[in-house]
């Protein structure tokens, strides 16, 4: 049994061991092992040539990683917190996602950008953002969000081996709060495959990251009322596993999407658009989103109001079910 952050650490050990071109870099990733200890032990085992403490410059980390990738390395960059990645968005949008196209397909930008993300941990300002929409919106970039330790390991390993750049968003609320079996040694969870986290018949709850837990808790609450919810854990936001989502909604006829990020143009909007395009005749009610609000993430003493809760998801399910 491992925690989610231990699974991340495990993946990094395995991939650094397997492929000498994998190179971890970020702020405080070396001697300290990262502020969440995700990179603990890497410098001791592989040396600072493979796990490097960078200066405090996120655009520099990712920009340098672009050059490292051009030179044949597979950089795995850590952003210390979600909202600290914003200076690097420039590099992600202008270079990381475009280099392949710019070079007529000649350049393989095998680069991973991983970061702790999301709220719910009583942290100061700008330690709780959910920036996935910025990343999925950048063409050329893939995005994954694990919700279990096994997926955290398997998705990160797959991301490191992927020929395209991948952003790995690790829900920090789950870093130490969930434990699970994690396969030893090499372990891959293919990008682009969602998972049915729990089966059901009456409504599909579509979630990712820390919101999978909220969806599962809602499912349990609904069961007490005699309603059966299926929970889909998207795992990869881009490429989105349309088949798994559509198959579930075809069965249940109802969909509630749960996302922690603000609502407008959040990833839930993309899922809702998919259902409008490809499942309109399967739907028995409106597709609803339960999301963070369109306001800056609030002071942590009131963050529970901001975050989607079982109560809010249940209320959305009630509205969809009562629609008919």
């Amino acid at each position: 049994m491992k925690t989610l952050v231990e699974a991340v650490n495990d993946a990094l050990h395995v991939e650094l061991e397997r492929d000498p071109s994998v190179f971890v870099l970020g702020e405080d990733v070396g001697v300290l092992g990262g502020v969440f200890r995700a990179t603990a032990g890497l410098t001791e085992r592989f040396g600072s040539e493979r796990c490097f403490d960078t200066p405090l410059a996120e655009a520099g980390i990712v920009g340098t990683a672009v050059g490292l990738a051009l030179a044949g390395w597979r950089p795995v960059c850590e952003m210390q917190f979600d909202a600290f990645s914003y200076p690097a968005l420039d590099q992600v949008i202008t270079h990381v996602g475009r280099y392949r196209a710019r070079s007529g397909g000649a350049v393989q930008m095998s680069l991973v950008l991983r970061m702790p993300y999301g709220g719910g941990v009583r942290a100061p300002e700008l330690h709780q953002d959910s920036p996935e929409a910025f990343y999925v919106h950048a063409p050329g970039v893939k995005v994954v969000v694990p919700s279990t330790p096994a997926d955290a390991k398997g998705l990160l390993s797959a991301a490191i081996r992927d020929p395209d750049p991948v952003v790995v968003l690790e829900p920090k609320r789950l870093y130490r709060s969930v434990r699970g079996e994690v396969p030893e040694g090499e372990w891959l969870v293919p990008l682009g495959q969602a998972r049915v986290a729990a089966p059901g018949e009456d409504v599909t709850l579509i979630a990712y990251g820390a919101m999978v837990g909220v969806a599962l808790d809602t499912r349990a609450a609904l069961a007490e009322e005699g309603a059966s919810a299926e929970v889909i854990d998207l795992r990869t936001l881009k490429p989105l596993d349309e088949d798994t989502v559509l198959a579930s909604v075809r069965k249940t006829g109802r969909a509630v999407i749960v996302q922690e990020a603000p609502r407008t143009c959040g990833f839930g909007s993309e899922v809702a658009a998919l259902l409008a395009e490809k499942a309109i005749f399967d739907l028995r009610g409106p597709v609803l989103r339960v999301t963070g609000y369109d306001v800056p993430y609030p002071s942590f003493s009131i963050e529970d109001t901001y975050l989607p809760s079982v109560r809010r998801v249940r209320e959305a399910v009630r509205r969809v079910v009562e629609f008919e």
Binding site: D28, L32, P55, A59, P87, D294, F300, T305, Y306
Partner: protein
């Protein structure tokens, strides 16, 4: 390299209108000396109490400023009333020196909306969390004031790590071009969490970075409150005379963990920390005041107890007052909220009421 504080007094990397260094800068009379002591003592008491409260689960993660009181109090004291301060999280409590209620800063670290202060009230900008991103803000503020014909200056605090960030360099670029009346105070405490300044920059001195932007720089002992005061006063004089920005590298040594969530035992040199603590700024200043005969026996301890009592009283207020309604998150996000935000606000208020 971090020079030890014993090696650094003051060295001008770009010539300024230099004054002789003396233990008591011109213009500081006895009451100012004690005022500085009062300021440092209040910052110290806040910090020690905050660390204790965090340990008791009464504050969230807290960024410690123990040992930085000299540079904060010294620089602040040099400002004119209308000048603004742009703090990083390391200077979270600096507003206390301008009359900000202690309750406000405690509330910020408790993650309470009441900690979201009005910067116009004391001329203290809101705490900047993302490293170095507020440097251009201070430059723009100072520039904007001058464009309006005011002689307001800005003082911005940032750490050694911040000098690696793009925003820092872009801020200095602008400061140099528009000759903004801004004082750029770099708190070089030797560490960015676990990264020593030797791994942070290839520059021999962080102050050298200013030269590239045409900005004069001065290096001071950040543990010497009077040296920091004097350097800041000179910088402000230049700024108000229309001579533009000054970079001050205040050198000290981080004698506490980065924040309460840190594990410094994994990376720091405990012996060095212990040595540095022997030379910490408040004790040093009290020794000087006693030598000058302005601090009576028992006065320092009495003042510390008064400061601690003030922080305790503020904490009692913070913990007993009713929470701010959660709808504040909607009310403060927009001047004219989109309709969706208003609907969410109504939903939340109704749920809050039903609960």
């Amino acid at each position: 390299m971090v020079p030890s504080s014993a090696q650094v007094l003051r060295s001008l990397t770009v010539p300024l209108s230099s004054t002789q260094r003396s233990p008591v800068p011109a213009g500081l009379v006895q009451v100012d000396l004690l005022g500085l002591h009062r300021d440092m003592t209040l910052l110290r008491a806040f910090d020690e109490q905050a660390v204790a409260y965090q340990g008791q689960g009464r504050l969230g993660t807290y960024a410690i400023h123990w040992g930085h009181e000299a540079m904060q109090a010294g620089a602040l004291r040099a400002l004119a009333v209308g000048d603004w301060v742009f703090p990083s999280y390391r200077e979270s409590a600096i507003g206390l020196l301008r009359g900000m209620p202690i309750e406000t800063v405690l509330a910020w670290w408790r993650g309470e909306p009441a900690g979201c202060w009005n910067p116009y009230a004391q001329g203290v900008a809101n705490i900047c969390v993302p490293i170095g991103t507020h440097v251009p803000h201070a430059v723009g503020f100072a520039w904007g004031a001058r464009k309006k014909g005011e002689d307001t200056c800005a003082l911005v605090f940032f750490g050694d790590g911040a000098t690696s960030e793009g925003a820092f360099h872009e801020g200095l670029t602008f400061a140099g071009v528009v000759r903004a009346p801004v004082v750029l105070l770099c708190n070089n405490n030797g560490w960015a969490i676990s990264t020593p300044v030797s791994a942070q920059s290839g520059a021999r001195h962080l102050a050298d970075k200013a030269a590239g932007y045409g900005i004069p720089a001065v290096t001071v002992d950040g543990g010497d409150v009077l040296a920091v005061y004097e350097a800041t006063r000179e910088a402000l004089e230049r700024a108000r005379a229309g001579d533009g920005p000054t970079f001050i590298e205040a050198i000290t040594y981080r004698m506490a963990s980065h924040a309460t969530a840190d594990e410094p035992s994994l990376y720091w040199d405990a012996e060095r920390v212990s040595d540095e603590r022997q030379r910490e700024c408040l004790t040093r200043y009290e020794q000087l005041l006693r030598e000058l005969g302005v601090l009576a026996d028992g006065e320092a301890e009495q003042r510390r107890e008064e400061s601690r009592a003030a922080v305790r009283a503020a904490m009692a207020v913070v913990e007993s007052r009713p929470p701010t309604p959660v709808s504040v998150m909607f009310d403060t996000a927009y001047a004219v909220p989109p309709s969706g935000v208003l609907r969410d606000r109504d939903d939340v208020e109704r749920e809050d009421h039903d609960r």
